[in-house]
Amino acid sequence: MNRDTLIHIGRFIILILVQVLVLNHINFLGDLNPYIYIIFILLAPININKSLFLLISFILGLIIDIFGDSGGVHAAACLIIAFFRPVALRTVFGLSYEFQTVKLSNIAFGEKLAYVTLMVLTHHIVLFSLEIFNFSHILLIAKKTLFSSLFTIVITTLVLILFRRSDS
């Protein structure tokens, strides 16, 4: 149990509490909520055991579902972005990811924004498709995905910049 593990566990708990107690009740412009708890998945260590990572992401989503009474939609969305995170990392960071020299706490703004955008968009498309679960409402899915993604991307990038760890 070293210091990094403790930081990740603390982040897991704090993000869940902030999400269910504060951010689920924002309802900006009627129905927009930012889902920033996926910061945990964004910042998970790159060399983490893949099965463990999938399991933790699933549990993270399921806890958000239990608090929000939303079935399994967050669990599915978290699971999918956790599974496809290596693809996103390879797309954004290219060679430096292959050689495992990326430090997620210390990357340029452009790359950070691209990484966050890719992950948040995937997460929100899955989330709202499953939440609404009706193809006759495809315009509503697109609208909710677009605006919520914008909201989440802005808040997530701000949080990542403001709470950057200075020691690395």
Binding site: D31, L32, I66, F67, G68, D69, S70, G71, V73, I132
Partner: protein
């Protein structure tokens, strides 16, 4: 055999992914059908306790508006009592041994959703306070939903703002009725469908519950007609109803228990 085990070990990440995805899709499908989403529910001990703790903090900010609403309700009830010819409430003698058709239990809202397609409400009373599934939930102004899932201390209410919710409702001035649904757009406007075209409608008419099920008694307010149109077959009206309640701001509610529910249900089952 060796090859199968090798295959499993080689693809263990993908297999785990598919398994967990399958589980989450099952939960999702269950949540989209009425009365099936038992497992993933905020009525459990931990989330209920956390919401109760949050509520104990945020409670103070709504005291003023809740006080006002309680006074308004008291004023209305006083007027009803005096209209019945009783001068003072203390002069009335309530015979509690005589069976009342409905009894009411107060409860407070711990969590209220209105931004999703399927919204649920968490209240702070459960089986310990004899709240059970299929009890109606109302405020002083109108209906809120139906209890769907209970634990010892908490209950989950399926809000009228939920695509699985179907509540019988009709016009106050006639006996035509339809079922109340929500199209997922505005949290203060619901839709009343399958009202026969013979009904005479006017904007501003009151919509109430009709007491055709054992859940709500007759005459609980729902809202007023905002606008209406005939459906494609020109046989039924589709009515937009503006709710009396502001669904984004509910503090305290009452759960309705129908004391004759079992008797009515056993009668209904006789002719099967």
């Amino acid at each position: 055999m060796q090859q199968i085990i090798n295959f499993l070990i080689r693809n263990k990440h993908s297999l785990l992914f598919l398994l967990l995805l399958f589980v989450s899709i099952i939960f999702t499908i269950q949540s989209h059908s009425y009365h099936k989403s038992k497992f993933v529910s905020s009525t459990n001990f931990i989330s209920g306790r956390i919401y109760r703790w949050q509520h104990s903090v945020s409670d103070y900010f709504n005291l003023k508006s809740e006080n006002k609403r309680l006074l308004e309700e008291n004023e209305r009830l006083h007027n009803i009592v005096s209209a019945m010819g009783v001068d003072s409430i203390s002069a009335t003698y309530v015979d509690t041994t005589f069976a009342k058709p409905f009894s009411y239990t107060k409860a407070r809202i711990l969590k209220n959703d209105y931004s999703k397609i399927d919204n649920y409400i968490l209240i702070n009373k459960g089986e310990k306070d004899s709240i059970f599934p299929d009890m109606g939930i109302i405020t002083d102004k109108g209906i809120i939903g139906i209890v769907e899932n209970t634990s010892k201390n908490y209950s989950r209410v399926i809000s009228i703002l939920n695509s699985n919710s179907r509540i019988n409702a009709g016009l106050k001035k006639s006996n035509q009725y339809g079922s109340l649904i929500w199209n997922g757009k505005d949290p203060n406007i619901v839709q009343l469908e399958t009202v026969p075209r013979q009904a005479i409608l006017k904007e501003g008419d009151t919509i109430i519950t009709h007491g055709r099920s054992t859940i709500f008694p007759r005459g609980i307010g729902i809202g007023t007609i905002l606008n209406y149109k005939l459906d494609q077959n020109k046989s039924y009206y589709l009515i937009d109803v503006k709710l009396f309640n502001d669904m984004t701001d509910i503090g305290f509610v009452y759960a309705i228990k129908n004391n004759n529910a079992e008797e009515i249900k056993s009668l209904e089952n006789l002719d099967l």
